[in-house]
C-alpha cells in the first residue's frame, strides 16, 4: 500500500498570539531544538512516506528556511519528495478559508500523485506515531475515513476542533466540532487517513457546495448523511496538544517528565529529526547551577536555571536565575536578572538585574528580538 502525506502548516495560528505573529504554527519552536512540523515530517518519513505536501497559507518564510531542501528528513525538494503548496503556487484565489479549500488549491498535487492513500496531519499535536499501524487499522476497519484520537484530552473545558464517540469496534457514533466536549468524548488529533481517490471526490464535491472546513463539512457532513463510514484509531502513546499559549507553555515544561520526554524522543525507529545548526556543545561554568532542565547545544551557562527549557545558543550570565520558563534560541540574559514563568522568544535580550515574572496560567511572553 502506498501512502502520501499532507501537512497543514497554519491551523491554529491565531490562538497562539504573539508566538505565531511572524511564523506558522508548524514552525513554532518546541522542546529546545525542534519546530512543531519536525514531528509530522519525521513521523511520515519514519513510516516510509516519501511524497509529502506542506500546505501553507501565510508567514511561511521561516518554515521554508527551516525545512531547507528537506535533507534532514532524507527528503529532497528537487526530486518531488517534498513540496510546498503555498496559496500563490496555484491559479486559485490566494486566501482559503479552511482545509477543504486548501486541498482544492492543491488538487493537481493530489491528482498527479500515484499513492493509494493520503494521511492528512495538522501541526498542533505533537507525537511519535507509526502511520503504518494507523493505515492497517484503517484498511481492516473498512471505513472511508479514519481519525486518530486520544483519550483523556476532552475535559469539558478545552475546546476541541473535533471530538467523537465510538462503539466497541471503534466505529464513530457521534461527532462534534468546535466543542468543549466532556470526558465521554475522544479528542481528534487532527490526523486523518483516506483513500486518495475518495478524498479528491469528497473535496471537489464539498468545495462546489461552498463547504470549506474539513472536520465540519467533510467528515461530519458525510457522517451525518450516511455517505461516509468513520472509524477512530486510538493512539496509545504520548500526544501533546499545543493549541494555545498556555498549552504550549505547559507542554514544553512537560518534557521535564521522563515518561513524556522518552515517549516523544526515545521511541525505537521513531527518531524526530530537525534542522542542524552546527552549534558547539553547551558550556557549564564554575558558577552554573542547572537543575531539572532541558538544554540544547551552543549555550553558555554561568547562572542558575531551574525547571526550564533552554533552546540553542542561550547565554545565561552569573547570578541570573531562570525558573519555570521557556527560553528560545540565542536569548541573552544579563547578570542578576530574575525570570519566572516567562516565554522568551528568539533573540530576546534581558538586561542585567531585570526582573520578569508571569504565572503558570499566564506566562509572560517577550516577542522575538525584544530588548528589556
Amino acid at each position: 500500500m502506498s501512502t502520501m502525506g499532507i501537512i497543514f502548516a497554519n491551523i491554529y495560528d491565531s490562538s497562539l498570539g504573539e508566538l505565531t505573529n511572524k511564523r506558522t504554527m508548524a514552525s513554532l519552536p518546541y522542546g529546545g531544538r525542534y519546530r512543531q512540523i519536525d514531528f509530522s515530517l519525521s513521523n511520515m518519513t519514519n513510516s516510509g512516506i516519501r511524497h509529502i505536501g506542506v500546505i501553507t497559507k501565510y508567514n511561511y518564510q521561516s518554515l521554508m528556511n527551516h525545512i531547507g531542501s528537506g535533507q534532514e528528513w532524507d527528503l529532497e525538494l528537487e526530486e518531488g519528495g517534498l513540496e510546498f503548496l503555498s496559496p500563490y503556487a496555484t491559479d486559485h484565489n490566494a486566501s482559503y478559508r479552511g482545509k477543504l479549500e486548501a486541498l482544492n488549491s492543491a488538487m493537481s498535487f493530489l491528482k498527479y500523485a500515484k499513492e493509494e492513500y493520503v494521511i492528512l496531519v495538522d501541526s498542533g499535536v505533537l507525537c511519535a506515531i507509526d502511520f503504518n499501524e494507523l493505515l492497517e487499522h484503517h484498511i481492516a476497519s473498512g471505513a472511508d475515513v479514519t481519525v486518530c484520537v486520544k483519550t483523556g484530552i476532552a475535559n469539558g473545558e478545552k475546546q476541541l476542533d473535533m471530538a467523537v464517540k465510538v462503539d466497541k469496534k471503534n466505529a464513530v457514533t457521534d461527532i462534534a466540532v468546535d466543542y468543549c466536549a466532556d470526558e465521554s468524548y475522544l479528542a481528534s488529533m487532527g490526523i486523518f487517513v483516506m483513500r486518495r481517490d475518495r478524498l479528491i471526490r469528497e473535496v471537489t464535491e464539498a468545495v462546489a457546495h461552498n463547504r470549506y472546513r474539513f472536520e465540519r463539512d467533510l467528515v461530519m457532513h458525510g457522517f451525518a448523511d450516511g455517505s461516509l463510514k468513520i472509524n477512530a484509531y486510538k493512539f496509545q502513546g504520548v500526544a501533546l496538544f499545543n493549541e494555545s499559549t498556555a498549552e504550549f507553555f505547559h507542554n514544553n515544561l512537560a518534557l521535564l517528565e521522563r515518561k513524556i520526554r522518552e515517549g516523544l524522543f526515545r521511541r525505537p525507529g521513531r527518531t524526530i529529526y530537525t534542522k542542524v545548526r552546527n552549534e558547539i556543545p553547551s558550556y557549564y561554568g564554575e558558577s552554573s547551577e542547572v537543575d531539572d532542565c532541558m538544554v540544547a547545544d551552543g549555550c553558555v551557562l554561568e547562572g542558575t536555571a531551574i525547571h526550564s527549557i533552554l533552546f540553542r545558543g542561550v547565554k545565561l550570565a552569573k547570578n541570573a536565575t531562570v525558573k519555570d520558563s521557556i527560553i528560545m534560541s540565542d536569548v541573552t540574559i544579563g547578570e542578576g536578572a530574575e525570570l519566572e514563568n516567562v516565554i522568551l522568544d528568539k533573540d530576546v535580550v534581558v538586561g542585567a538585574g531585570k526582573k520578569l515574572r508571569g504565572t503558570y496560567e499566564h506566562p509572560l511572553i517577550l516577542k522575538r528580538g525584544e530588548i528589556v
Binding site: 534532514e72 524522543f265 556543545p281 553547551s282 557549564y284 564554575e286 542547572v290 532541558m294 538544554v295
Partner: protein
C-alpha cells in the same frame, strides 16, 4: 570529461594508523577519533578547507576506512556535496598492473595524480588528519602566490628545548627556507613544520614522479620530497602560523586538547566567532536533560545526554548518560557512554559506546605538577561493577 579548473585542491592524509592512540584506534582510523564533545578530528581540517573557500578535497584513507567513509558520506555536513569537486574519499585501488597500498605520504599523492589532474589546479594543499586547529588556508595561499613559492610550509614557533622533536625549517629573513632538519639534535631555529604544505602543482607533480622512480626513497614528504626540492634550488618558504595548533597523536595530547576547550577563556575556542565554524555530522538527538541531582562545573556537555551525577572539568560527548551518584572529573567521555551510579572516573578517556558499571573506579587524582597518567578505556567496552582501572592503565 571536461571539468572546470580549480585554483587549489586539498589532499588530506588520513591513512595513518595512529598506533600511539592505543585502544582508541583499535578499530578506528585516527581522523575518525571523537573530539570535543561532538566532533571528530577530521572535522577540523575539513571545516578549515570550507572556511577558506576550498571546495575540492581528496581524503586519502587506507587504515580502517569504513567508519571514516561512512562519516564523510557525501560531504553534506561540510557543504562539500558538490557536483563538481566536493569531497572524495580516495582509498588505494587496484590498477591494471598491480595493487598497491600507500607506501608513504608522497606515494599516496602520487597514486592519486589522476584525481588531481581532473581539476587542473595551480596549487595543491597537503593536510594531515590528526591536528586540532583553525587556520585560514586562503591566507597561506595568498602568501605562496606573493612569494611565487614552489612550496610553502606552515610553521609555528616551538620552545627551543623541544625543537629537536620536530622537523625544523631554517629560514632567511624573507622567510625563504635554506635548510630543513628532521628532529635535529642541535636545532638552529624554532620554526617547526606543521605538516601543512602548499605546492605549485606543476612542481609537485614532477617531484612525485621522480620520487616514485627512486627505489631508495621512503616516499615521504618530510624525508624525501621537501629535501629534494631544497637541494634542487626550488623556492621554499615558511609561513608562520600564530594560532592554537595541537597534534593529537598521543593519549596525553588528545586529553590535553580536550581540556583546553574548557574554562571561560579556553586556550582553543570552538566558537564560530573565533576563526570560523567547525562543522560535524550531526545525529538527531534531543536536548540534554540536566537533572536536579546533578552538578556540572566547568564542563562541555554534548546533546542527547542525561546528566544525573557530578561532572567537573570534563568533556561529555553526545548521547551519554551519567547516573546519579556517579562522578566524572578531568575526563573525556566519548559519545554514547553510560556511566552507572557510584562509578568514579578521574583523569581518563572513555571510548565511544562504553558501559561503566556501578561502583567502577577508573583513573585517579594527581598532585599539582605531578605527571598526569591518563587511564583509557577502548571503544564499546564494558567495565564491570566495582572494577578498578588504575591511573594510566589502558584497557
Amino acid at each position: 570529461m571536461n571539468f572546470l579548473k580549480k585554483h587549489c585542491v586539498a589532499m588530506l592524509l588520513a591513512g595513518g594508523q595512529g598506533s600511539r592512540l592505543l585502544v582508541l584506534t583499535e578499530n578506528t582510523a585516527k581522523p575518525a577519533v571523537p573530539f570535543g564533545g561532538k566532533y571528530r578530528i577530521i572535522d577540523f581540517p575539513l571545516s578549515n578547507c570550507v572556511n577558506s573557500g576550498i571546495d575540492t578535497v581528496g581524503i586519502l584513507t587506507q587504515y580502517q576506512p569504513l567508519e571514516l567513509n561512512e562519516y564523510i558520506g557525501n560531504g553534506q555536513p561540510w557543504r562539500l556535496n558538490r557536483s563538481h569537486g566536493g569531497v572524495q574519499v580516495l582509498p588505494p585501488y587496484a590498477k591494471s598492473k598491480k595493487t598497491e597500498w600507500y607506501k608513504g605520504t608522497a606515494n599516496a599523492i602520487y597514486q592519486n595524480i589522476p584525481f588531481i589532474e581532473r581539476y587542473d589546479p595551480d596549487y595543491v594543499l597537503i593536510l594531515s588528519g590528526d591536528h586540532i586547529y583553525k587556520m585560514d588556508y586562503a591566507a597561506m595561499l595568498r602568501f605562496a602566490e606573493q612569494k611565487n613559492a614552489d612550496c610553502t610550509i606552515a610553521v609555528r614557533t616551538v620552545p627551543l628545548a623541544e625543537a629537536s622533536r620536530f622537523g625544523i625549517m631554517n629560514t632567511n629573513e624573507d622567510g625563504s627556507i635554506y635548510e630543513f632538519e628532521e628532529k635535529p639534535k642541535h636545532p638552529k631555529s624554532t620554526n617547526a613544520s606543521m605538516g601543512i604544505y602548499i605546492f605549485k602543482w606543476s612542481v609537485l607533480r614532477e617531484f612525485l614522479i621522480a620520487d616514485e622512480e627512486d627505489p631508495t626513497s621512503e616516499n615521504d614528504f618530510g624525508k624525501n620530497v621537501i629535501p629534494a626540492l631544497l637541494s634542487s634550488g626550488h623556492k621554499l618558504y615558511a609561513y608562520k602560523f600564530e594560532g592554537y595548533w595541537k597534534d593529537v597523536g598521543t593519549i596525553n595530547s588528545l586529553w590535553e586538547a580536550n581540556m583546553e576547550l574548557l574554562g571561560t577563556e579556553p586556550a582553543f575556542e570552538l566558537d564560530s566567532d573565533k576563526g570560523g565554524r567547525i562543522y560535524a555530522r550531526n545525529y538527531a538527538m534531543p536536548s540534554s536533560f540536566i537533572a536536579k541531582s546533578s552538578s556540572n562545573k566547568d564542563s562541555l556537555i554534548g546533546e542527547g545526554s542525561g546528566i544525573y551525577g557530578d561532572v567537573k572539568h570534563s568533556v561529555i560527548s553526545t548521547g551519554c548518560t551519567v547516573e546519579a551518584g556517579a562522578v566524572v572529573e578531568d575526563s573525556v567521555i566519548m559519545p554514547d557512554v553510560v556511566i552507572e551510579s557510584g562509578a568514579i572516573i578521574r583523569h581518563a578517556i572513555i571510548g565511544e559506546g562504553c558501559h561503566i558499571c556501578r561502583g567502577a573506579v577508573i583513573g585517579g587524582s594527581f598532585a599539582e605538577g605531578e605527571e598526569k597518567k591518563i587511564a583509557v578505556v577502548g571503544k564499546a567496552k564494558t567495565i564491570e561493577a566495582n572494577k578498578t582501572i588504575a591511573p594510566g592503565e589502558v584497557c
